[in-house]
């Protein structure tokens, strides 16, 4: 459309393929190759092996996979409840007040993750809410980091849900509670599912804040990958990273498929 000559279009296509290969494809291929080979001391890696992947499902690596999934699901479900609650409560206010109050819920996404981690360390390692060294401090930190994104997704969804259906339900005599459970929440469900998908992926990949507060018993995948590569087992780290990406993508894609089916219904 922009370029009409055949040669020009072919040249541009080639440029795009080269840039894509250099910036995006090559890193993926490199990670995959290193995780599948015995050693990489020469130009290309040598010796095919699946041992790095079997390592990823044993011992400390398996524990960190379980830890990451526990933290991701715990914090995401809590964030979902909180996001739905906050968005529904805010909707009853005038548009102007809504705009200002919602800034408070967006604010955590404006704070660097390392600073959120530092804040949690300072606040929760002593005093009334002491939970240093427990799973809770990781969950809470992840919750704070993802809460703004969940809230944003849910309130966007709530804006698209037409008020007419709810008004009809009310005028037909539905109580507020009945209306919430049978009208509003089912209409909101697709956005809730996609908010869950996003927050799971954010929590699975979080490193900055977790590095500061992680307790010895709950080492998440990114932290485990870092300590593997730091110790020199880069191939094991690469395999674990692939496992992490695969699990995250699987969760996201299946939740997004659920969300799409809910919209069509």
């Amino acid at each position: 459309m922009l370029i009409w000559s055949r040669k020009g279009r072919a040249a541009l296509g080639l440029v795009a393929i080269l840039l894509f290969a250099l910036f995006f494809l090559l890193p993926l291929v490199a990670i995959l190759m290193s995780s599948l080979s015995r050693q990489w001391n020469d130009v290309l890696p040598t010796g095919f092996t699946l041992s790095h992947f079997t390592n990823a499902f044993h011992g400390g690596s398996k524990d960190s996979l379980i830890a990451s999934l526990t933290v991701a699901f715990g914090s995401s479900l809590f964030a979902l409840l909180y996001g739905v609650w906050a968005a529904l409560a805010l909707r009853q206010y005038h548009f102007r007040i809504q705009k200002w109050l919602s800034m408070a819920f967006y604010l955590p996404s404006a704070i660097p993750s390392v600073s959120i981690g530092l804040g949690a360390l300072v606040a929760f390692s002593q005093g009334p809410l002491q939970m240093n060294g427990t799973l809770w401090i990781v969950m809470i930190t992840h919750f704070v980091l993802i809460s703004a994104f969940t809230f944003s997704n849910i309130s966007t969804g709530l804006m698209r849900v037409s008020g007419d259906i709810e008004n009809v339900a009310s005028s037909l005599g539905a109580s507020p509670r009945y209306r919430l459970y049978h009208i509003t929440l089912p209409l909101l469900l697709p956005w809730m599912v996609s908010a869950l998908a996003l927050s799971l992926s954010l929590s699975m990949g979080e490193l900055g804040a977790t590095m500061i507060i992680y307790p010895p018993g709950w080492i998440t995948l990114p932290v485990a990958i870092f300590s593997l590569t730091d110790r020199g087992s880069i191939a094991d780290g690469a395999a674990l990273a692939i496992v992490q990406v695969a699990v995250t993508l699987f969760l996201m894609l299946s939740l997004e498929r659920v969300a799409k089916r809910l919209v069509q219904r």
Partner: protein
């Protein structure tokens, strides 16, 4: 009847507030309270007095100034890189599609779900001292030392951030480009406009809000990026988040760590405001 009305109205005003109190309370305890403790630690010295002592100590230290300049440099160069690469790829993928261009677009989009440090890990295999590129060059030209040595420097960080954050520029940009009426472009080129002129006078004005939104989001995320810098482990590249981490965990100097975190938060809040302004412009245009 009139007797009941005031009561009914007052509960109507009170109830939304009670509902809102619950999430606000969660936010206050889990987010605002730790944030206020950071401010408190940053502004009080060892003996507990409130003052700007730590602030001047931090501002005058060479290491902090270096970290601040590094952070800003990395953020600016990485954002410019993301905008250039993202614009070029979006324009080609959208306006001169070729076999496979849709798959390329989808693969780039999945990078949004990937952890940032993954790319750094990959880069050590490609550009590291014993990696693919250096290995090839050394066996081809008989170098004694690895000839390509930029990974463990600021350039390596910038290159990794360009790869990680370009998809965030492309997503809104592709959406904006898709909405442009294609007949406008045809009309412009039939009337004799060169491709460059079409890009500058037709596409750029229409895509500007999306570019601003993507660019300001990049600026925010590159300023606060931790994983990439941490995984590269470059000794010379110290950024603000890196310094917060090392001051707090390695040196246990909490008041300085909190002061640097506070400065980082202030910078980040400024960039967040910029991002909100940019996205609200998209909202009014569509």
């Amino acid at each position: 009847m009139p007797l009941f009305l005031p009561v009914e109205q007052s509960t109507r005003h009170l109830r939304p507030f009670l509902w809102l109190l619950m999430p606000l309370l969660v936010l206050a305890v889990l987010f605002f309270w730790p944030l206020s403790l950071i401010v408190q630690h940053a502004l009080s010295d060892d003996s507990g007095h409130i003052g700007l002592g730590t602030f001047w100590q931090v501002i005058e230290s060479r290491r902090f100034l270096g970290a601040l300049i590094n952070t800003l440099q990395i953020a600016c160069f990485a954002t410019i890189g993301c905008l250039l690469l993202g614009s070029l790829l979006s324009l080609i993928l959208e306006f001169t599609p070729f076999p496979g261009s849709r798959i390329i677009g989808r693969v780039i989009d999945t990078f949004i779900a990937m952890p940032t440090f993954l790319i750094t890990l990959a880069f050590t295999f490609i550009y590291g001292s014993a990696g693919l590129l250096n290995g090839t060059l050394m066996s081809l030209f008989d170098f004694d030392l690895p000839p390509v040595d930029f990974l463990y420097s600021m350039k390596g960080v910038i290159l990794a951030e360009i790869t990680v954050f370009t998809p965030l520029v492309m997503r809104p940009l592709m959406a904006a480009l898709r909405q442009i009426d294609k007949s406008q472009l045809e009309a412009a080129s039939i009337l004799g406009a060169t491709p460059l002129k079409v890009i500058l006078q037709v596409l750029l004005p229409a895509a500007l809000p999306a570019l601003m939104a993507g660019g300001s989001l990049c600026l925010l995320l590159t300023t606060n990026e931790f994983g990439i810098v941490f995984f590269i482990g470059a000794k010379g590249v110290n950024t603000l988040p890196m310094m917060v981490y090392s001051k707090a965990l390695l040196e246990s100097d909490y008041s300085v760590a909190c002061m640097i975190a506070l400065i980082n938060i202030a910078l980040s809040l400024g960039l967040f405001t910029l991002y909100r302004l940019a996205t609200s412009r998209i909202g009014t245009r569509n």
